[in-house]
Subunit: 501 residues, 2 copies
Amino acid sequence: MRLNETETTFMEYVKKMEAFKEALQLIYWDLRTGAPKKGVKQRSQVIGTLSDEYYQMSISEEMAAFIAKLSGQKEELPELVQKTLEECKTIYDRNKKIPPNEYKEYVILQTEAENVWEEAREKSDFAMFKPYLEKLVDFNKKFIEYWGYKGNKYDTLLDLYEPGVTVETVDKEFETLKGAIAPLIQKINESGNKQATDFLYQPFPKEKQREFSLKILEQMGYDLGAGRLDETIHPFATGLNPGDVRITTRYYDNDWRMAVFGTIHEGGHALYEQNISEELIGTPLCRGTSMGIHESQSLFYENILARDKSFWEYNLELLRKYAGGILDHIRLDEFYRAINKAEPSLIRIESDNLTYSLHIIIRYEIEKGLFNNEINVEDLPDIWNDKYEQYLGIRPKNDAEGVLQDVHWAAGNFGYFPSYALGYMYAAQIKNAMVREITEYDGLLKSGNLKPIKEWLTKHIHRYGKTKKPLELIKEATGEGLSAKYLTDYLVKKYSAIYNL
Amino acid sequence: MRLNETETTFMEYVKKMEAFKEALQLIYWDLRTGAPKKGVKQRSQVIGTLSDEYYQMSISEEMAAFIAKLSGQKEELPELVQKTLEECKTIYDRNKKIPPNEYKEYVILQTEAENVWEEAREKSDFAMFKPYLEKLVDFNKKFIEYWGYKGNKYDTLLDLYEPGVTVETVDKEFETLKGAIAPLIQKINESGNKQATDFLYQPFPKEKQREFSLKILEQMGYDLGAGRLDETIHPFATGLNPGDVRITTRYYDNDWRMAVFGTIHEGGHALYEQNISEELIGTPLCRGTSMGIHESQSLFYENILARDKSFWEYNLELLRKYAGGILDHIRLDEFYRAINKAEPSLIRIESDNLTYSLHIIIRYEIEKGLFNNEINVEDLPDIWNDKYEQYLGIRPKNDAEGVLQDVHWAAGNFGYFPSYALGYMYAAQIKNAMVREITEYDGLLKSGNLKPIKEWLTKHIHRYGKTKKPLELIKEATGEGLSAKYLTDYLVKKYSAIYNL
């Protein structure tokens, strides 16, 4: 790639921004994995300085000049420069359109709101959180006006997390999903079939859980020379650069699934970040293209691959070696049914792989209503509870297990929730495309050879980083646009078999 | 503290520089404690960006303007601003006086020289390293001319690590030290007395070494809520801010002393950084005032306090609890004599508490000769070996165990070595002043109550950070200027008793 002078200066400028970002990511990782509490106050100053430096560079006159100059010759730019420019312009426009004082106010509000939400959730007191949530919604309504919108106002928020995906698409696919899952849940309930899961809740030494988790990561193709596994209360994955992608997990003494499936989930995210093409390093394109596509990678590994009977045909024996006897007398079939138990519940993050999407759809419908002025904040608890009763057949007894359960709104993250269900749909669709090419998919799982699967994902997803938009990527990887069909087919087939429907 | 506009802007500017520095320190800590290898290349880019940002700010026109404006009204400035200004001016002058292209060349040379040195040491081939060392010395000679000097040229280099301390002072004190240690070593050799140390080299589980080390850190008053203990090949302490001062240590299966005394050494450094006055946070004054004073804190704890019989009167019983039986039959007296064994050896970092200073004095005399054009690089191996024979009575068989053993010169750190022996002298002098006030010093050690000792050090040393220069600090803490007398008295008394002289 030969660059002219402006292009080179621009790419150097961007590299500097990315350096600040990588330093920030390391600081956040450190804060979450064991930084001494008493140093946090001063560390926030450091975060403030670096974030501000990044922010100022993203809206500087220098950046404006780069955008103006390079946009004029866009067609002649090398692809990498062109895509980098597009990304910078998106950020520039987004940051520049909000008046600085409003942005500051909003940042302060976010911190306050999160603190109040925490207390409100503890006390199950929605009234306490309501004024903050109202302000957060109002701010975002203003932002939508600043940023502009074509069709649905909520599209503008969706675009923050899933660029190019609109209400029109999501409505259609979520309807399909709802239409398949709701009756399936009802059939399961009516069948009266239940599976034994008691044997899952037995002591399993933490160190052994860790060793097994590392074995599975290795199988998946996670490169420990370019990563590490630590322990945190809230598991996460963070890609500082493709050579340094760290994951964390959480160990429960009496439920090894938390650590194992959690590690697999984060491992899926990590494979994405580890396998982004090297040439993207130092540009804003060197990360996952969207929340939804990122989630497709973690959910493919956690829900689809690692909850497949073939996967455990190979790994149950291995798990037994670490489990100290507690699983020795459990048959593969029993085991498989137990880890795939489906039962409506109230808390999203504790829900199963079948009902999960309904939790997301409820949140999506509410957000869409809020930003199209069809729902008021004060009515949220009732609307929430009604929807749970309607879709899942159970009703929260209080707001702590209802509308107050998630942090997202308190943090001002509207438009984020749909990514989870979009990710699940992408995952099923991707798997369908994958097995068309990797016809021995089942055999690979049965022999613990997951490398070809990672390679397929790298070839079709990972390596592109942010150079392709989500829908473009899905189209190219699977041959068609987003479709809920593959997830519904997968769920219906799988759960009908498990519950003998 | 009320500040006017310029003062406030200046302090904000400085805070930003310090934020970059703290981020850099965290990155270095991370690289040494477990960052994935494959991410290092990109991490160097991040380091480059942040270092450059800091460097540019230190010599910017803005900084020049602050210095010009505030220096004019120096007397009216609040003390904190005044001291900060002085520190910034020192750095400004130092960085500004070296032509940028020479500085760049020098940085590249440092990296190359370190790589060549590593290979040369392995092959014990001084000739290989010689041209690099010559260039490093020449560069530093040029720097001395740029920076200027009054008396001895070597003073300018000493000033980098021990501001205000000159050849005149060091010569005098090192002569005293040499005059006391050399004959003492000779007497020990002639006495033929030896102590048994075999029992020290026995298996001691790493996890138990760690637990015991943490107990001692706790006794010392190291705040684990403002720090953490990790494992590295080369132990170190790093103060990111007073609320986050991390230490590392190294575990040897068959020699627990490495971890325990190493942790105590780094713990001494850490106490210094943890107890710097809060008001200095975010300024360049929020660190130890010099290498020598820093070393005085680590050496006081490691060599003086933790090798005192009274200390082990309390702690030997505790150590036995972790040692799994290997020390059960060892009497306190035997133990005390074993951990204080003195015997001339060739490698500085493996040497004992008595002969250590001679290793330093040899290096000091050579450096002084080099920069006053009395010694040529090509003659170093012979001069080195002659001095070892003269002072320690043993002669290196090759350059690997002679002139090539230390990294300091390869890294261009001339003027650094004296700090180690200065630190030891400060430590003995400080202890002498301390026991004048804390008359129950011995009793405190015997009862494991080390808090009053830490408090004394905080009151007289720690809290001042870099607001007082080393000699000013020592004068105020001990009532007199630097004097080798206390260290020689301490060594003569202690080793005469141990070796029944």
